[in-house]
C-alpha cells in the first residue's frame, strides 16, 4: 500500500463519516406478502409492463420490459400473482406506475439458476459473449444509487477504447455501509465480477482492474485485497477520506490521474466504473443466470433504534425495514432515501425498496439540516469545495435573479449535484435544489435556441431555393 493515500485533485469536503452500522453483519429480511415494484427504477425510459392483473409470475420473470436504449428490464422478485398495476408512491417521492405482486412464498424461479462459486477458474471457463445479454435480462442497474442501466455501460460505442475498469467501493456518503459490508462478506464474488467485466472488454486489448476503497474501511480493504490477489491485473487502491470520492469523475481522477473532460463520459478516458454490488450482481447474472431480485440496504441514522444492513427483496416497504431495526426514536425528524448528501427526503415510509435504494436514513433533529435559508455572505467556501471547479454561490445568485442564460458560461451542466457546496454553506442555502432548477431552465433555453437556429436555417434555404432555379427569376 502506498504511504500517501490517493484522492481526487480538487475540491471536496471532509465530513464525519458516521458509519454507525459498519460492524453490523448483513441480515436477510424475510420477504413480505405484498411487493410493490415501480416500472421506473433506473435512469432512462420507464419499463413497459408485459404482465396482466391476476397473471401468475415467477422469480426472474420479466414483468416490465426495457423501453428504449437507456432503460432496464424489471423482473419479478418473487413467485406469486400480479394483484394490481397502478400508480403508487415510490422512493423518488412521486407516484409512479407500479406492479403489485402477491408473494406465494414458494420462491419458484422462472428459469433454472446455477450455483457456481466465484473463482478465477469459473471466470476462465466463462465465455463472455452472452454476458451483456444476461445482465440486461437480469435487470441490473448501477447499485450505487444512480441506477444507470448496466448493460448500456457494458456496451460503449465501438470507437471507445477501454483499458481500465474501476470498481467503486468508496461509499463516500456518510452513514451508508451496505457496500462496505458486501466487500467484507462477499469479496470473492465482487472480484470475480470485476474479472468478468475485464474479460468482456479485453477483446480490444489489455485491461487493468482497480477497486477503490476509502481508508476508513480497513476491513473491507483487507478482504478485497485477499480476493483480488487471486486475479491478475486487479489492484485494490486505498483512498484518502474525502467526499465526493465516489463520484465517477472523481474516482477515475483519484485512481488513474485522468480527468474526464467536461460534458464527456468516462469512456472518453478509457474507463468504465461500476459499483461493487453491481459487479457481484453481474457475476450472478452472467455465470449463474440469477436475476436481480434483492439488494443490501443500510438502515441508519440516529433516528432509528438499531442501525443495520439488510438484504431485502425489491418491493418491500421502507416501514418494514425500519421496524425490523427497532423502529424510530422519539426525536426522529427526517426520512431520507439514500445518503445524507444526495439522498431525497420522503414524506412517508410507505414506499418500496427499489434497485436504487442504497440506504434508508432516519435523521433526528440534531443531525438534520432544519435551518431556514440565510443570505449568502460570500464566504467562498462553496467555491473551495466544488469538485468540478464551479462557483455555486455565483450560480445561485444568477438563478435567483432569473438570468438563466448566464448559467451556460458558469458551466452549470458540469455540476454533479454532490451537495458539497450545500453542506458547507454558511447561510444553509439549498444550493443543489436551485442548481437542479437552473439546469432545467438552461436546457429549455438551449433547446429553444437550437430550434430557432433550425427554423432560421430552413427559412434561409427556402428563400434561397427559388433563386437557384434557372429561368424563374430571370
Amino acid at each position: 500500500m502506498a504511504s500517501e493515500l490517493k484522492t481526487f485533485s480538487q475540491g471536496g469536503i471532509h465530513v464525519d463519516d458516521r458509519k454507525y452500522s459498519h460492524e453490523s453483519p448483513i441480515e436477510k429480511l424475510p420477504a413480505s406478502k405484498l411487493l410493490v415494484i415501480p416500472t421506473s427504477q433506473h435512469i432512462g425510459a420507464p419499463a413497459k409492463v408485459v404482465v396482466a392483473k391476476d397473471q401468475a409470475v415467477k422469480i426472474g420473470q420479466i414483468i416490465a420490459e426495457k423501453a428504449g436504449f437507456i432503460s432496464a428490464n424489471i423482473v419479478s422478485p418473487a413467485s406469486g400473482v400480479v394483484k394490481a398495476i397502478e400508480a403508487r408512491m415510490s422512493p423518488t417521492g412521486f407516484k409512479q406506475e407500479c406492479i403489485v405482486i402477491e408473494n406465494d412464498m414458494k420462491d419458484e424461479y422462472f428459469e433454472a439458476v446455477t450455483d457456481i462459486a466465484p473463482s478465477p477458474e469459473a471466470i476462465e471457463k466463462y465465455d463472455p459473449a452472452s454476458a451483456v445479454k444476461q445482465v440486461e435480462k437480469a435487470g441490473i442497474v448501477g447499485m450505487g444509487g444512480a441506477a444507470f442501466p448496466t448493460s448500456v455501460k457494458l456496451s460503449p460505442p465501438p470507437d471507445t477504447k477501454i483499458d481500465t475498469i474501476i470498481l467503486n467501493g468508496v461509499e463516500c456518503e456518510p452513514y451508508l455501509t451496505a457496500d462496505a459490508r458486501i466487500m467484507i462478506e462477499d469479496a470473492d464474488k465482487i472480484a470475480a465480477g470485476l474479472a468478468l467485466i475485464m474479460k468482456i472488454f479485453s477483446k480490444n486489448g489489455p485491461v487493468k482492474g482497480y477497486i477503490g476503497i476509502e481508508a476508513n474501511k480497513p476491513d473491507s480493504i483487507q478482504k478485497m485485497s485477499e480476493a483480488a490477489a487471486k486475479y491478475k491485473d486487479i489492484q485494490v487502491v486505498s483512498l484518502a477520506l474525502k467526499y465526493p470520492q465516489g463520484g465517477e469523475k472523481q474516482l477515475i481522477n483519484a485512481i488513474t490521474g485522468r480527468s474526464v473532460p467536461s460534458g464527456k463520459l468516462p469512456g472518453s478516458v478509457g474507463c468504465v466504473v461500476q459499483n461493487v454490488a453491481t459487479a457481484a450482481a453481474i457475476f450472478d447474472a452472467a455465470v449463474n443466470n440469477k436475476p436481480l431480485i434483492e439488494r443490501v440496504v443500510t438502515v441508519t441514522g440516529l433516528g432509528v433504534k438499531t442501525p443495520k444492513n439488510l438484504l431485502v427483496r425489491f418491493g418491500v416497504m421502507f416501514t418494514e425495514l425500519i421496524d425490523y431495526c427497532g423502529g424510530i426514536t422519539e426525536d426522529a425528524a427526517m426520512l431520507i432515501c439514500g445518503g445524507p448528501m444526495m439522498g431525497k427526503a420522503l414524506q412517508t415510509s410507505e414506499v418500496p425498496v427499489t434497485k436504487a435504494v442504497s440506504g434508508i436514513l432516519v435523521l433526528n433533529h440534531s443531525e438534520a439540516n432544519l435551518y431556514e435559508e440565510a443570505p449568502c455572505i460570500r464566504c467562498g467556501r462553496c467555491v473551495d469545495v466544488c469538485p468540478m471547479g464551479l462557483q455555486p454561490g455565483m450560480i445561485n445568485k444568477v438563478i435567483e435573479a432569473g438570468e438563466y442564460e448566464k448559467l451556460e458560461e458558469l458551466a452549470i451542466m458540469d455540476c454533479i449535484e454532490c451537495g458539497s457546496c450545500n453542506y458547507i454553506c454558511a447561510g444553509h442555502e439549498r444550493l443543489v435544489q436551485k442548481i437542479k432548477i437552473g439546469k432545467i431552465k438552461l436546457q429549455e433555453i438551449l433547446k429553444a435556441r437550437k430550434e430557432k437556429e433550425a427554423r432560421e436555417k430552413a427559412k434561409a434555404e427556402t428563400k434561397a431555393a427559388p433563386q437557384d432555379k434557372p429561368g424563374e427569376s430571370k
Partner: protein, 339 residues
Amino acid sequence: METKDKKWIVGQGSHIYFPQDTRIIMFQVILALLPACAMALYVFGMDALKVLLVGVISAVAAEALIQKYLMKTALTINDYSAALTGLLLALNLPASSPWWMICIGSLIAIGIGKLAYGGLGQNPFNPALVGRVALLIGFPALMTNWSVTGGYLAELYRKVNPETLTAATPLGFVKAYSGTNFSADLVNYFNSYKINWESLFVGTTSGSIGEISELALLLGGAYLIYKKVINWEIPVSFIGTVGLISMAAYYANPQATLLPHYHLLSGGLFLGAIFMATDMVTSPFTFKGRIIFGIGCGVLTMLIRLYGGYPEGVSFAILLMNIFVPIIDIYIKPKRFGV
C-alpha cells in the same frame, strides 16, 4: 411512535450541514477581537470601555430600529453581524471619541453601509469602514485626537511630562509637518529609535483603540485562520506589500522617510489587513483573487501614506479595493475540472 404514521419533515439536500454557519462565523470573529479589546482596555482604561460599549450597542440598536420601523422586515440582529460591525467601528476610533459621534458612525455603517444595499451579504463596502471614513471626513479633528485621557498611557506620558494631553501617531506627526523645515528633524527623531518596534508591536503607543497592539491582532488572526474563518492570503499579501514598499521608500530616501516598522506597526495596518480586508462579503472568492486584492490594498495604502493628504491610508485602500471585487471575481475564476 409508529413508523408508518410518522409526519416527516421534508427538506432539500444535502440533509446534513457544516456547523460553522454565519452566526458562528460572526461570533468567532468577535472572539478573535477580544485580545485587541483587552489591550485597548489595558492601555486606554475606561475610555476604551465606553467606546466599545457605545459602538456595539449603537450598531445593534441601529439595525434593530431601521429594520423594525423603516424597512419593516424581520430583525437580523441575532446573526451577530451588527454587533461585529459596531465592535470593528469602535476599535477603529480614538479613545477620546464622544458618544454621539460613535452613534453617528454606527448609524452610517449599518444604515448606509449595510442595510441600504439590502442587508448582510449585499453590501459592496465593508460597513464598519464606511462608518469610520464618514466620521474621518465629517469630524477630522475628533478622529485624530489621540488624547491621553486615561489608562496606562496617561500615567506613562504624565510621568514623562505632566503637561502632556495628546500624543499623535508617528505617521500623523510626519504627515502634519511634511513639506516644512521641521519635517526632516521629525523623521530623524522617530527614526533614531525614540519608539522601538517592540513597544509598537505590543501596543503601548497611541492610535485607534483597536489598532495599537499588533500582537493581540495577530493572536486573533491566527485563531481565525485556524478556524478557517479567514484565509492567510489577504493579510499576508497586504502586510507584505506594505512592508516591501515602505522598505523601498526608506532606502530610496532615508532622510525623509520613516523606518518601515512605523509603517507596519504604528497605524491601522494589522487591524485592517486581518479583520477588515478579510471581510467575506467584500473580498474575492478565489485564492488568486485574494492575493491580487491584498496587494492592491497594500499599494493603495502606501500611495496614500507617502503621497496623499491623509497620514493613514488603510481604510481608504480597503474601500477602494472593495470596488474591484466584482471585477476580480469575474476575471479570476477557479480552475474547472476536466477543462
